[in-house]
Each structure stands twice: as C-alpha cells, then as structure tokens.
C-alpha cells in the first residue's frame, strides 16, 4: 500500500473516531463557544470540513489522476 493511501486511511480513522465515542466525548460540552456555536456543534462542523479537505487532498494528490478521462457516450444525442 502506498504511503499516500496509508496516511489517508489513518486520518480517516481518526476523523471517524472523532465523531463517536471516545474522542467526541472529550468535546461534548457547550463551552468554549466557537463563533457562537457550542463546542459540541462546532466540533462536528470542524470534522465535516476535515473530511472534505482530506478527500480533496487525496483527489488532488492522485498520481494516476487523469482529469481528461471521459467515456464514450451511448445514446442518440
């Protein structure tokens, strides 16, 4: 397995643990409020961004990435 994939899977695992017990239980409280949101809510939103940027990085760093690949379109148009 390439190290890029390993890093991805480890970070994904960390994010998954962060939205359930046990990691999320460390950030379960209301205070400190972040940008007006209770900590528990802000944490979930932060994890949503973390997973978004993780997959975005994985997509951008794909060595076999070939954006021009499109299939022949079947049909009558």
């Amino acid at each position: 397995m390439r190290s890029r994939k390993k890093i991805f899977l480890v970070l994904l695992f960390i994010i998954q643990l962060s939205i359930i017990w046990p990691v999320y239980s460390l950030f379960r409280g209301v205070y400190p409020m972040i940008l007006g949101f209770p900590l528990s809510f802000a944490w979930i939103i932060a994890m949503l961004f973390a997973s978004f940027f993780l997959l975005l990085w994985y997509y951008w760093s794909d060595p076999a990435h070939n954006p021009s690949r499109t299939s022949d379109k079947a049909g009558d148009h």
């Binding site: 994010i15 379960r28 409020m33 007006g36």
Partner: protein, 492 residues
C-alpha cells in the same frame, strides 16, 4: 387575496416548473433501459452532485431535522455525523462500478453483485430488500408532501389530495423521463432547498435572538432547558440523556449503509466519467453542510415556542407564528415540497428499475424481456409502486415509520458484500448469501425485540457482527468463484 391562496399559488407554480424540468430532459435520452435507468451514462458533475445530495435530503431533513434539534438537541448532530464519512466509500468503488457497468451493461446494484457472486438468488434477495425499504420511504415522503399542502391551504386541501397532486407530478416525470427527469428536477430542487435552508437558518436566530451566539448562550443558560440539550450526545426520544452507545452505533451503522443505499449506489452507472464520480464524493460534504442551518431552525424554536408536538411540525409552526412576508412563507413550503419530491422521485425510479431488472426479468423467457419491453415494465411498475405507496400514505393505518427505522440497519448489511466484491477475491456467492441473510435476520430480530440486545447499540451493528464472520467463514468453506470472474473485479 387571502394569504393561504398566495402561498398555494407559489406551490402550484413550483410544481408546474418542476414538471416541465422533469419532462423536457427525458426527450433527449435514448428509448432504452440504459436511457431510462442510467440516463445513457451521461450525467455530468453538476447533475450527479445534486442528484446525490437532493436524494439524501428528504422531507425527513426538512421536517425531521429541525424536529430533532428542537426536541433532542445535540442528538441531532448524528444526522450530520454519519454523512461526514458515509459518502467516502463511493470515491473508491464508484469509478469501478461505473466502468464495469459500461463494459457489461449493468444498471442496478443487484446486477453487479449478482455477476460478481454468480448468484441469481442474491439478486432476488437484494430486489426484495430494496423494495421493502423503499416503499415505506416513499410513503413517508408522500405523507410529508400531503402534510405541507394541507398546512398551507389551512385545511382547504385535504392530505390525500395534496399528496396526490405532488406525487402525480413526480409520477409523470419519472414515467416519461426516467433518471434524467430525476436528475434535472433534483438540480433545480437542490439549489432551491439549499438557498432556503441557509436563509432561514441564519435569519431565525437573528430575528428571534439577535444572532447565532446569543441564541445558543440563552439556550445554555435557560433553567427551563435540560443541561444535556446542547451537550453531545443530546437527549433520547424520552427526553433523557442519550447514551454514547446509542449515538455512536447509530452514526456508525448509518455511515456504513450510506454509500450502498441502492438508489444512491446505482447513480454510479449514470456518471459520464470516473472524474465525475470521484468529484461527486469529494464535494458531497458541501451539501451535507446545509444541515447546519436546518438544525438551527429547530434550535431557534426551543425557547420561543416550547411544547410544540409532534416535534416534526416545528418548522411549519414557526413559519405560521412569525410575521414573515407571505411570498417567503410560500417559498419555504415549496422548498419542503422539493425535499419530499426530490427523494421520492429517486426512490420511485430505483424501486421500479430494481423490481424489473433484478426481480421480474429473471423469471421471464427471453422473448418477453427485450430492452423495449423491460422499459415498458419499469414504467408500469413506476405506476404500481406509486399507487401502493399512496395507499399506505393516505388510506392504510399500518405504522409504517417502524419499517423505515429498521431500514438503515438492513441496508448497512449490503456494505460487506460491496466491499468484498472488489477487495476480497476469496468471497463466494454462498458466503455473500449467508452474510446478507444472517445480517438482515439479526437486524430484524433486534429491531422487533430491542430489550434482548446485550448493549444498547443500534440493531444494525448486531447484524454486521453476524454478517461479516458468516460471509468470511462460508466463503472459505466453499469453492472460489472462477478466476476470470474474480479478475474482472479485482482489475476493475
């Protein structure tokens, strides 16, 4: 003119625009099963992004989401939680599924699993499982639509007629245009829902409290609100603190099942390229983010409108209490209709396609299952399933919500099969059947007898605990599938 008539006119205009947007794109796809079910494999990123997003966000999100935040507080973060990682598997298997579909003509989830595991029984079993979970899902969407129209008309239009009108529109565009009708209407409906959700979610805290921070501070300080309201994992259905077992297992099961819901999975066959498929998965969280304002609608109502029951009615309740411009109220109700219809159409289309491709066609002789005839059967089934769901929505008294609650656990049992399809060459048809049957049976058992669960975890977790060892054990005890078959999948 009375307010409710203005609101009803706005909903009517919305329905007419949706109908037009649904019918026109169907004129462009080929007159074939691939055209009807997979849109000739021509969906671009914009359409696929909205199809996936808007199919997920149903009337549950628009009515149930604020309802959860209002009655159970932080427990509602679970709805955001499972989407954080749930769509990521699609990034990996979506492009493989797409390529195999293009090469071998698959258009449904059961078709590809049937081919990999060389088992027609598996296909029939998946068809039954899909339809059993889809009909209650569709029924609830219809009820949601009927409820919205009855509320805005102040009872002048009864629920049966409201649900009937909204779903006649859905029936027409799904019947004529198949998946492309679903695609274009979902793009329109998705943009509409997102705009409204962000507006309302930011406007309500500002109007009622002066800002988001002020709102949460007041909820946290209020002696009338449980101190566990804003603390994860929030409250359970009885209003007591929810357990971490319950919250964590619900997030996990829903995340595992998310990417293999048949109506989402089969959109991989409609993607026009690998890049489209991957970027849809990458961009999905931007859709998921719109649950944040949706939940804020519910939080905004906690202090200002206490004791509204059932909690799912909190959004329409707030709208009728606030002194909002009538056009805006009309738009929000139309947005709720959009949420119901954009999920209902995808489910209706998938249920009919699966019923014919994975169920009926396996029992028909060749001359009765030509491409043209199959397309006709799918259309007939679209009508039949609509009528069946409509019967449950407005006539039958069967408590169908219970069926839907169990469906997430049931659908999650498909995930190990999809994973092994590509990543475990030794998995066999018998193993897949044993795992799926065992997993679904255990899930149903613990759904019916929740008191027998050793730990208060979601029943789907128990299903997976049985499913995975059965799949592995029976596979190892049976003859491997042919090399040529396996290589098609491991090299996909």
């Amino acid at each position: 003119m009375e307010d409710w008539i203005v609101i009803l006119i706005i909903c009517g205009i919305y329905l007419a625009v949706t109908l037009a947007m649904g019918i026109i794109p169907g004129l462009k796809v080929s007159d074939s099963v691939t055209g009807f079910v997979a849109g000739d494999r021509s969906m671009n990123l914009l359409i696929l992004y909205f199809v996936m997003g808007a199919s997920v966000f149903s009337s549950f999100a628009f009515l149930g989401g604020p309802g959860w935040a209002y009655s159970r507080g932080a427990a509602a973060y679970y709805i955001i939680g499972y989407g954080i990682t749930g769509m990521i598997p699609i990034y990996f298997f979506g492009p493989k599924v797409r390529r195999l579909g293009e090469r071998y003509g698959f258009v449904t989830q059961a078709e590809i699993l049937q081919d990999r595991f060389n088992s027609r029984t598996l296909s029939v079993l998946l068809a039954i499982l899909s339809i059993v979970v889809f009909i209650p899902y569709l029924t609830l969407q219809m009820k949601g639509a009927g409820y919205v129209i009855t509320t805005v008309s102040e009872g002048a239009i009864p629920q049966w007629m409201g649900a009937g009108i909204a779903y006649l529109v859905v029936l027409l565009y799904v019947y004529f245009s198949g998946v492309m009708g679903v695609g274009w209407t979902n793009t329109f409906q998705g943009m509409f829902m997102m705009a409204l959700a962000w507006f309302l979610g930011l406007y309500l805290p500002y109007k009622l409290f002066g800002g988001v921070g002020a709102m949460f501070t007041q909820i946290a300080r209020s002696p009338a609100v449980s101190e566990f309201m804003l603390q994860a994992p929030g409250l359970n259905a009885e209003g007591k603190p929810w357990s971490w077992w319950g919250f964590s297992s619900a997030v996990l099961v829903s995340a595992v099942g998310f990417s293999v819901w048949p109506h989402l999975f089969m959109r991989a066959f409609a993607a026009d390229s690998d890049r489209t498929m991957k970027l849809t998965a990458v961009l999905y969280p931007t859709f998921q983010l719109f649950l944040v304002p949706i939940l804020m609608i519910g939080f905004a109502a906690i202090l200002v409108y206490p004791n509204v029951t059932p909690a799912d009615t909190i959004l329409p309740y707030v709208l009728t209490q606030l002194d909002l411009p009538v056009v805006l109220v009309g738009l929000v109700f139309a947005g709720t209709l959009a949420a119901s219809m954009s999920s209902g159409d995808a489910i209706l289309h998938s249920a009919a396609s699966i019923g014919v491709r994975d169920g009926l066609s396996l029992f028909l002789p060749d001359h009765l299952k030509t491409d043209h005839l199959q397309r006709r059967y799918i259309r007939i089934l679209v009508v039949v399933i609509s009528l069946l769901a409509y019967y449950f929505a407005v006539i039958s008294e069967v408590p169908i919500v219970n069926l839907l609650l169990g469906s997430y656990g049931g659908v999650a049992q498909i995930f190990p099969l999809v994973f092994c399809m590509f990543y475990w060459q030794r998995a066999t048809g018998s193993g897949a059947l044993a795992g799926l049957l065992g997993g679904v049976s255990v899930t149903i058992f613990f759904l019916l007898y929740p008191d027998l669960r050793p730990f208060p975890m979601h029943e789907g977790i128990y299903g997976l605990i049985v499913n995975i060892p059965l799949l592995a054990g029976v596979s190892l005890m049976t003859k491997p599938e042919s090399k040529e078959r396996i290589q098609r999948y491991s090299n996909a």
